[in-house]
Every structure is written in structure tokens, then in C-alpha cells.
Amino acid sequence: MPTITMPELQFGEVFANIDLLLEACGLTLALWAVALAAGLSGGLLVGLARLSPRRWIAWPARGYVELFRNTPVLVQLIWFYYALPVVSGIQLPAFAAAALALSLNASAYCAEIYRGGIQSVAAGQWEAGRALGMGRLRLLRRIILPLAVRRMVPAFTNRAVELAKNTSVASIITVHELMYTARLFSSQNYIPMETFTVVAMIYFLLIYPFTLASYALERHFAAGRA
């Protein structure tokens, strides 16, 4: 009876070089932070534009959202890195191209979260604010958004977690973030299984505290309502 020999797992090798992977986390976190901040702020603008009664504002916003939501983020990155120079003559550095593509992608998703959140606020809240003489912007800032954001936290968390993992796509265009470094390391040492298992653990450790913080935020808002 033939015996199947299991290849020996060489986690020792990976952990011996863990500093390489941990250093690469810096770029991963930077990409995540930039794209998330841009997504949350840009998404608000696009979301508000989507809700505008003026078609010339609402329609371009919708076109933007559909374009970025219905195409692969991988293609968007490749496009900003390789196609943009051909079309416009602007060659962005790899990190900038990745940050731009991920930011625009995150903005499109966040815009829809904002739109849904704002629409979920009861019409009576708008009326109460308007009846006090509040202008549209003040009403949004003081009443509507504070109420909407409370409901949007789970959706934003979902998006942010997805985005953290999407940063790995930047490895395709040579951004030396965690995934790029891991692929390089595994192909040099022929230990992909060990490397990517450790990488998954690192992603988990990066993302999970964020998730915990968002739960705390949800609890905070829930307590404020009482």
C-alpha cells in the first residue's frame, strides 16, 4: 500500500522572516486609510448628489456609482496604472494609482450607503427642521446625518472590512504592500501555503480591532437613544 507523504509545513521559515511581512503592512494600512477616508468623504458628496432633485447633478453621480460598482476593482486598478498614461499622458506612481482607484471605488459604494441611510430618516425629521427655519445643509448636518449615520455604521463597517482586503489587489500593479511581499516571499522560498496562512492571520489581526471598534460605536449610539 503506497504511503502518501505529507509535505512538512515550514512555518518556521515564514516566522523567521516575519519582519518583511510586518513592514509591508505599513503600505497596506496606508492604502486602507486613504481609501477609507476618501470613500467616507467622497461618498457623502456623491450620495448627496444622487439625492439631488436636479438631474444634471443626480445623473452624473449615478453614472459614476454604476461604473465603479459594476466593474472589477482589479480592472480599475490596472486601468489607472496602465491605461491612464496612454489616455492622458499622466503616469501615476503605483501607490498613487492604487490609492486613487480604491478611493473612487470606495466612494461609489459609500455613496449608496449614505443615500440609503439619508432616505431612511423619517420625513417628519426633515419637516421639523424646516419648520424651525433650518436650511438644507444645516438640517443635514444637525439632524439628518447624525440620525442616518447611526444606522449606517454596520454597512460602513462591512464596506471598510471589504476594502481592507481589496487593498491586496494593489499587489498586481507592484505596490509593495502585504500581499505583494507575501507573493514574492512565497515564490522565492516555495512555501505558499505557510506564507499565505500567516498572511491571512495578519489581515485578520489588522481588521478585527476595527470591527470591534465599530461594535463599540454601535453600542455607544444605541445607548444615546435611550
Binding site: 425629521q125 427642521g129 444637525r142
Partner: protein, 260 residues
């Protein structure tokens, strides 16, 4: 301040349609300073719509509003009026509104709800807004509930906070849109009591209501609306006890059909 008894708010040839349904079919109304007007009518008569047009929460299809002698908005084609947002905000800051569903801001405490208008619309300093808000809460009997969120208040208490919120703007005209219609019967009294107490301020008030008894005691003038028109307009004694129109009589009979 102008002389008591002059016209504070005037409505001229007001029409309002929702799609092809014309809800208001030409309303002319002069509201004098200090008047307390109860607006009666069966559902669908347009009474709430009229009230909501008076602070342009509902955009009139035609006609115009004159507040303190100044026309609001600019005439546009077809007898309509165009309003700029800034102008509407100024109008609404002077014409307060209390809603049937209270519409308190749920993320703010009772005190913050009352402070919000003076703070963010009138630009009052925070300490002053807080002081006057507390005073208004005391006025509606809720001085002890300043730090409670709306979810922790009964319907009657919520409506009283909403009244304090409207009062905090010191409006020239205060509109009440069926303020007790969504309350449990045993909570109606406390809200009507608060509204009645406001009478002594001499503030101009318009009230859409189904509480005929309250309207009789509270109002200085009663309007009866039917199918988008003012059918009856006079002192409570006359409108409620000897209405001119058959329609009004039939409406009133429904309220007095069952007695014990």
C-alpha cells in the same frame, strides 16, 4: 412691534393641488395679531394642507402669503409664487409649527430639542439658549425632563416638548396641526391644557383640531373648511351653535350624535 389687532398673516387666493386632485380651491384669509383660530373640517377638507401651506412646508400651487405686510416669494407664471430657500427659512423661523406626530429629534435630549432652533437658526449663544430652553420646558411642565431623550417620554410629554421647541423661536404665528390626534385619550388633556395656557401670551395661533369642545373655549374665531374652501368663518359661539351652512351642521351633528 406693531399694534395689536393688525393683520399679521394674510393668505390670498391660495390653491394647492396634489397631482390632479385640487385640495385647496382658493383660500382667502386674514389673520389678525392675537387671534386664536381653530380650523375644523372633515378629513380631506384641506385643513391640514392649508396650515402646511402657511409656512410653505407644502408649496402652494397658486396664490400668495403676506407676512407682516411683506409678500413672501416672487410672482411666477400662472399665478404661482417662486420661493427662495433663504426666504422660506426666514418665514418658517417666524411661523412655528407643532406636528401631529411631534417629530422630536430622537438623538437629542428634550432640552437640546428646544435649544436647537435658537442655537442653530437664530444664532443665540449656547448658555442663553440653554436658559431659555429650560424656561420653556418649565412652562410646559417638563422642567424635570430636560435630560430625557424623546424615547423615554410619553406621547403627551413629547408633544409638550415639541410645543416648547416651537415657542423657543418666539414665533409671531404658531401653527398646530392636529396636536392631539395621535395621543392616547387620557393624554389629550395635558396637551390641550398647555396650549390653552399659551392663550394668555396673546400669541397668534392657528389650530387644526377635532376637539370641538376645546376649540369652543380656546378659539376667538373658527373656520370650517369643506372641499378646499372656507365654508364658515366666525366666532365660536356662532359657528358651533348656529352655523349658517347645512354642511357645517351635519359635520357638527356627527360629534354630538352620542352623548351620555
Amino acid at each position: 412691534m406693531t399694534v395689536a389687532g393688525d393683520v399679521v398673516l394674510q393668505v390670498e387666493d391660495l390653491h394647492k393641488s396634489f397631482g390632479s386632485t385640487e385640495v385647496l380651491k382658493g383660500i382667502d384669509l386674514s389673520v389678525r395679531r392675537g387671534e386664536r383660530i381653530a380650523i375644523l373640517g372633515s378629513s380631506g377638507s384641506g385643513k391640514s394642507t392649508l396650515l402646511r401651506c402657511m409656512n410653505v412646508l407644502e408649496m402652494p400651487t397658486r396664490g400668495r402669503l403676506i407676512l407682516d405686510g411683506e409678500a413672501v416669494g416672487k410672482p411666477a407664471a400662472g399665478g404661482a409664487t417662486r420661493y427662495r430657500e433663504a426666504e422660506l427659512n426666514r418665514l418658517r423661523a417666524r411661523v412655528g409649527m407643532v406636528f401631529q406626530q411631534f417629530n422630536l429629534f430622537p438623538h437629542m435630549t428634550a432640552l437640546e430639542n428646544v435649544m436647537e432652533g435658537p442655537l442653530s437658526v437664530l444664532g443665540r449663544p449656547k448658555a442663553e439658549a440653554r436658559r431659555t430652553a429650560q424656561r420653556h420646558l418649565e412652562r410646559v411642565g417638563l422642567g424635570g425632563k430636560a435630560d430625557a431623550h424623546p424615547a423615554r417620554l410619553s406621547g403627551g410629554q413629547q408633544q409638550r416638548v415639541a410645543i416648547a421647541r416651537a415657542l423657543a423661536m418666539d414665533p409671531e404665528v404658531l401653527l398646530f396641526d392636529e396636536p392631539t390626534s395621535s395621543l392616547d385619550p387620557e393624554l389629550v388633556g395635558e396637551v390641550l391644557g398647555v396650549i390653552n395656557d399659551l392663550s394668555e401670551d396673546g400669541r397668534t395661533m392657528l389650530l387644526v383640531t377635532h376637539e370641538l369642545g376645546f376649540a369652543y373655549h380656546f378659539a376667538t374665531r373658527i373656520l370650517f373648511l369643506h372641499e378646499g374652501r372656507i365654508l364658515e368663518d366666525g366666532p365660536p359661539e356662532q359657528v358651533l351653535k348656529s352655523p349658517r351652512e347645512e354642511r357645517t351642521r351635519r359635520f357638527l351633528d356627527r360629534f354630538t350624535a352620542f352623548r351620555f
